[in-house]
Amino acid sequence: MTVPVAEPTAEPAPGAPLLEVTDLTTHFETPGGIVRAVDGVSLTLERGKTLGIVGESGSGKTVLSRSIMGLLPKRGTIRGGSVRFDGVELMTRSPKEMRDFWGARMAMIFQDPMTSLNPVMKIGKQITESIRHHLDVDRDYATELAVTLLRSVRIPEPERRLRDYPHQLSGGMRQRVCIAVAMACGPALLFADEPTTALDVTVQAQVLDLMAAQQRERFMAIVLITHDLGVVAGRADEIAVMYAGRIVEKAPTSVLFTQTRMPYTKALLSSIPKLEHPSHSRLATIPGRPPNLVAPPAGCKFAPRCAQAQPRCLEEDPPLVPGSAPGHEYRCWFPVGTPEGDDALARNRAAGKTAGTTAGGAA
């Protein structure tokens, strides 16, 4: 049985990347001030490729993905910049117009499968709902399609499962159902926002492999969001590291691991659990907390926590600059693995403090 694909809603511009985000900002108006959750993010993604987005909790990954999809509530949200999908500008579209894209051409899988399925609606209904809405098919066909989808995400006895409620399924099974829901109309782009964080370690790999299989079959692009570099290491073609609402380093996966320039990326890398370490060994976590997004520091946002921070870092905001490998970009005045960076680190070690910690006392 072939899975029908929703019709593209506009002529694709030939040669345009599937997703092209330029200088996207997303700010929230709150009683405490304006939260700059996403602050000037640009990225592109080709069809069939995977982009990993990595960052600590609160770095703006979820807001970024929802902002790209246009899923954030209008009230209290200020968005700027451009999001082009298949050559079509999405920023100016109303939620009503976006509904032709949501579920049909771009889909999303959420972090917590326990809460992302409607507890009072049968699994079958939750899958066929978007099929019936987007594709012009009758109920029997939609049900048949739902069974095929459940089977393709390796859910045993799919016909019976259709009549189950979410609480009758385990977490891993529920996340498979979420994948089935997302795949229902054959989207060209899938956002997976920490799809395995809430699952058992043993189930995590299964779910990620399942997504990869669906991706190959459908030539689908994936934005894989995680706080764990280890998850995206073997799966993403390119990785963007986020900090305080910005991309601080972006590179093809192997480049990011071999030519790390940004101290924050380096710190994230050292927090990946290594196979040779005993499983109970503690991860090296990055000391300190992400900055306040209402009044972020003037210079480099990472300076208060950076081992290499110099006085310049506190005053001037480092721009994104290209690295030596194609597609590599980073923000840092004293990059790791360069003489300037080594120098800065050595100086701070000798002084027993960094420019950030000295200033950090006031922050």
């Binding site: 899923l71 509904r99 959420f110 972090q111 409607n118 609480h167 829901v181």
Partner: protein, 338 residues
């Protein structure tokens, strides 16, 4: 199995509740000043009254009267008739069986309360959904202020106002009276339903329903606001499901448990309101009967009315419990495990 156990437990509770209700009404009714013999023969002599009181069993000690009313055979069991035997007693003044009186008046009140409940919910549910969806906006504030304005208006004031303006001045609808509706023939086959029925019900139903709208709407609004923050709502949105469907198909059901509970409990308030509204609109329902029974010190009649209403009230709230199970499949398992 679990369901059977649940039902058994419920019926035990029902028995206990009804025992308490009968005891309290029995005691309270007897605290009313005045006595029935005096109201029946206001100009009779003391001997005549004493004879009548003996006839009616009012000379017996309080507890014995209560036991007789319940129909519990204590010493001489022959001829014991009471609630247990399904005997609701007789009206002192006319010797009519109370059961017959209830057959006439109960369906009237049930219809009134059902209509009022339906109208209140029919207004409150869309308004609750709307105000939750538009929480914090001018629409939200306007709807809330209006609904609370009506809540502050006592139902008898509204009833008098409607009766005067729409009934007496504009003459659009009758100010008083009643015609049988769809439920009356089920209780008394001699009555035939009439289309006029609805005409007589409009004003009383409005008077009764309007105050409940604000209560129901606020409950639904706050639960709905919480539900709309849930991940599964964002997920539904990400599927491209239209707003209306998200609100009514995804969010309404999980948000309606509190509303259901309160709507069940609120039947008590509606019954209380119906007494007042029936008297104002001259509707021959339980409310009117209760009012006259109080005035005439018809102890037995009054006790039986309250007993029947309490019985219905408790049954409705059991039904609400079972509705939970329909609304939320997760409870099905939790209840079965309990």
């Amino acid at each position: 199995m679990a369901a059977l156990r649940l039902i058994a437990r419920r019926f035990l509770q029902l028995a206990i509740v009804l025992l308490l209700v009968t005891f309290f009404t029995f005691s309270l009714v007897r605290l009313l000043p005045g006595d029935p013999a005096k109201t029946i023969i206001p100009f009779g002599s003391d001997q005549q009254r004493a004879a009548l009181a003996k006839d009616l069993g009012l000379d017996k000690p309080f507890l014995q009267q209560y036991v007789n009313y319940l129909g519990i055979p204590v010493i001489k069991s022959e001829g014991t008739t009471g609630l247990l035997q399904g005997n609701l007693g007789r009206k002192y003044a006319t010797n009519q069986p109370v059961g017959e009186l209830i057959k006439q008046s109960l369906p009237v009140s049930i219809q009134l309360v059902i209509y009022a409940q339906l109208v209140a919910l029919a207004l409150a549910i869309p308004l609750g959904v709307l105000t939750a969806y538009r929480a914090g906006t001018r629409t939200d504030r306007a709807v809330n202020t209006t609904a609370f304005g009506f809540l502050a208006l006592p139902n008898f004031v509204l009833a008098l106002l409607l009766s005067y303006v729409i009934g007496a001045r504009l003459k659009w609808l009758p100010t008083a009276g009643y015609e049988p509706g769809w439920l009356d023939p089920l209780f008394d086959s001699a009555r035939t339903p009439s289309v006029e029925h609805l005409k007589y019900m409009v004003l009383p139903v409005i008077a009764l329903a309007v105050g409940q709208v604000a209560i129901y709407m606020r409950l639904l609004r706050s639960d709905m606001i919480a539900t709309l923050q849930e991940n599964f709502i964002t997920m539904a949105k990400a599927k491209g499901v239209p707003n209306r469907r998200i609100l009514f198909r995804h969010a309404l059901r999980p948000s309606s448990l509190t509303l259901l509970t309160v709507a069940g409990l609120n039947v008590g308030t509606l019954i209380g309101g119906a007494i007042v509204v029936e008297v104002i609109f001259g509707i021959p329902g339980m409310g009117t009967q209760i009012a006259t029974a109080i005035a005439a010190r018809e102890y037995v009649e009054l006790q039986s009315y309250i007993f029947v209403l309490a019985f219905i009230f408790v049954l409705i709230n059991f039904a609400v419990d079972f509705c939970y199970i329909l609304l939320d499949p997760r409870i099905r398992r939790a209840r079965a495990d309990a």
